[in-house]
Symmetry: C2
Subunit: 406 residues, 2 copies
């Protein structure tokens, strides 16, 4: 069994880096805070004698050798970057749970057959650089390295330049190696486990996600003398589209999701009708057909609103992460561990994207969820119970040992 | 008669400062470009031997002495600052038409009885610092000097500090002095004169304006796992409110105006429901009762949308500039000049705010409009005919001479 207290203390120590006044974390990808968090993590891994390798995407691979060096490793890991107003657990828990597993094995002098590998993936959140899960995505071959390095933040800084600046542009190629099995622990980020009073979610897959930049082009004009009927007003087009899309998404199915995470008007002067408005849109559904329906609804409504308002609406798809089914064997490994440990549990589909989505393209994968208070995540008030975090970490230990062999 | 060619050339020379690729101007208040524009203007005024005085708000007063130093001056003027994507004529025309009047009198060796005064008012646009017309507003006593100096731009720089930085924090008190009469020439910024094929608008007043910061407070949460029904989504509240307000404003009267000039989401991450959205709103109506109706409609709808969405909507009024009636005598002076010069004309109410609104609190005022192409303003494509600009300037010359005496 792992040491729940040590796990908690490490979480709290990491949470000091980028701590916000409201109790959350702002440790966005490849900022000085991310560097500080990575340095702290790497130091901890060196203390237990692990080898460290950094790839061209800044993904950090920490290896604990096994008895049989020929066997592909059993992998775990997640991310250390956060949302701008993120919490203390999203991602970090998956990394530090993996570290706690390695520490526990070290303490007990246990050697596994297969090597173990703990990974920190770069820019999982997609908050600073779009899209999300880009470190694991490039590694798994979904995106080219060039595409990854060219992602730019709102200030125009590129991911590649920022990797170099913080000293985490590694030498190892960002490409997959053989893996026996991979597991990722994470807080659920939704309300189901808490509502059902269950401790562990055995994650069978991840719902689909599509991201869009929707740009509404109008004609800038003066707020006073210009008659309303003569305007091509992009804010009116935005409100028409949102109004209709929210209502169709909600009516379609309880499983459908629509989020308007960012909005920007240009030139952004109160007494000028904007030239354009840019909306960062996120649509999700667990079924491919459902997601396709939402996608088509967006394009249909954009065309209607464009005609009704005289504006031009440009819908550009930024990212598509189709629904994913995890590996049956890995799901069973988690299920077996949960049952052996006696935790209340359920099988569930993840509403959030995770690095496991891309890892699952090249290796057998599943995930382990634990509850978070009120289902709240991407929020500074995100919180989780030490007991639940400990339970998830014990499940991870058992599942990894089962696959690696002792 | 004034020299239309010289007026045009001066306009084009000024337009080079802050020129944008699309043919407009970005010479926002108290930027380096504004300083350069002011310096060019001040140099021109020195060439014709005028005295220059700058007040604590950076308003520039240029005086041409009259025969009777005891008489209060006849005043004209406008502003040199522009919108971020502004045109070459808005404001600048009123300043350089005044300069052209002074140059014409100088050329012809004409001395007026009363002195003449040409004023450049600070930050008329309200684009960089809110509200609009703050230079004339402080001068006229509508706002305190402290309020004026403390206005901050989006980057947090204050108007007072920026005045000092560009060297236009003058010594003269920003307070009114006796004025015989004041006139301001301006492009119409709307479509009426062009549609009616008329050359001059005799402006009888200015419609009312109310500005608001509307802040929609929600609960940040994850775009994926959070059920739609559990969200307090400020973007949904924004689109509900805009949808209803646009429709009620348009239904109320053809004279009513609603503009959503700026929008901002925080923290602005695509996969997080925003914590808040801030909308910069502008409502206008020519009648006090009409403006009051729009104001009450905004508050009523905000309350309804707040209840329907579970968000908190904070409506903060930033500025109220009630409808203004100009001085009958000044209107007649403009009317007489237009008729004497034989230009086609009409009386009209201004849809845009102008420094004349605040000057009219302490002096008899009216304005002279000329057409602009397609009624387009606050747009880089803003344009006006040299003949029309010349006509407006001739009307200004005649009205000023009539009031100052020769
Ligand atoms: N786990 C998590 O918050 N990932 C961010 C990617 C997403 O938007 O789902
Ligand atoms: N003339 C002009 O564009 N003034 C700006 C103030 C307003 O918004 O009406």
């Amino acid at each position: 069994r792992i040491d729940g207290r040590r796990l908690w203390d490490s979480l709290m120590e990491m949470a000091r880096i980028g701590a916000t006044p409201a109790g959350g974390c702002n440790r966005q990808a490849l900022t000085d805070e991310d560097r500080e968090g990575r340095d702290l993590f790497v130091g901890w891994c060196r203390e237990i004698g692990c080898e460290i390798r950094v790839d061209r995407m800044g993904n950090i691979f920490v290896r604990r050798q096994g008895a049989d060096a020929e066997l592909p490793p059993v992998v775990t890991g997640s991310h250390l970057d956060t949302q701008p107003t993120g919490g203390k657990f999203d991602g970090v828990y998956g990394v530090l749970a993996g570290l706690e597993v390695l520490r526990t094995l070290e303490d007990n002098g246990i050697q596994t057959e297969a090597p173990l590998e703990l990974v920190v993936w770069t820019n999982e959140e997609g908050a600073r650089f779009s899209p999300a899960m880009i470190g694991s995505g490039v590694w798994a071959g979904e995106f080219s390295l060039e595409y990854g390095h060219n992602r730019a933040d709102k200030a125009g800084k590129t991911l590649g330049a920022e990797l170099e600046r913080i000293g985490y542009l590694g030498e190892a190629p960002a490409e997959p190696h053989p893996i026996t099995a991979a597991f990722e622990t994470h807080i659920e980020q939704g309300p189901i486990l808490e509502m059902q009073d269950e401790v562990v979610g055995v994650v069978t897959g991840v719902q689909g996600i599509r991201w869009y930049d929707v740009t509404f082009h109008g004609t800038p004009c003066h707020a006073g003398p210009t008659p309303m009927a003569d305007r091509r007003d992009p804010v009116q087009a935005l409100s028409h589209l949102c109004e209709r899309l929210y209502s169709e998404v909600k009516a379609y199915s309880d499983d459908a999701r629509m989020t308007c995470g960012d909005l920007r008007a240009e030139p952004g002067s109160r007494n000028t009708v904007p030239e354009k408005v840019v909306l960062a849109l996120d649509l999700r559904h667990p079924e491919p057909e459902g997601l396709e329906h939402l996608h088509r609804t967006l394009y249909r409504l954009a065309e209607q609103v464009q005609e009704a308002t005289g504006t031009t609406i440009d819908v550009r798809e930024e990212w598509h992460s189709p629904p994913v089914q995890f590996d049956r064997g890995c799901i069973e490994a988690v299920d077996g561990a949960v049952k052996a440990l006696g935790y209340s549990h359920r099988q569930m589909v993840s509403g959030a994207g995770h690095d496991s989505v891309y890892v699952s393209r090249v290796a057998p994968v599943s995930m382990i969820f634990v509850p978070c208070a009120g289902g709240l995540s991407h929020n500074e008030k995100e919180s989780a119970e030490p007991d639940h975090l400990e339970a998830g970490c014990n499940v991870l230990l058992h599942a990894m040992l089962e696959r690696a062999g002792v």
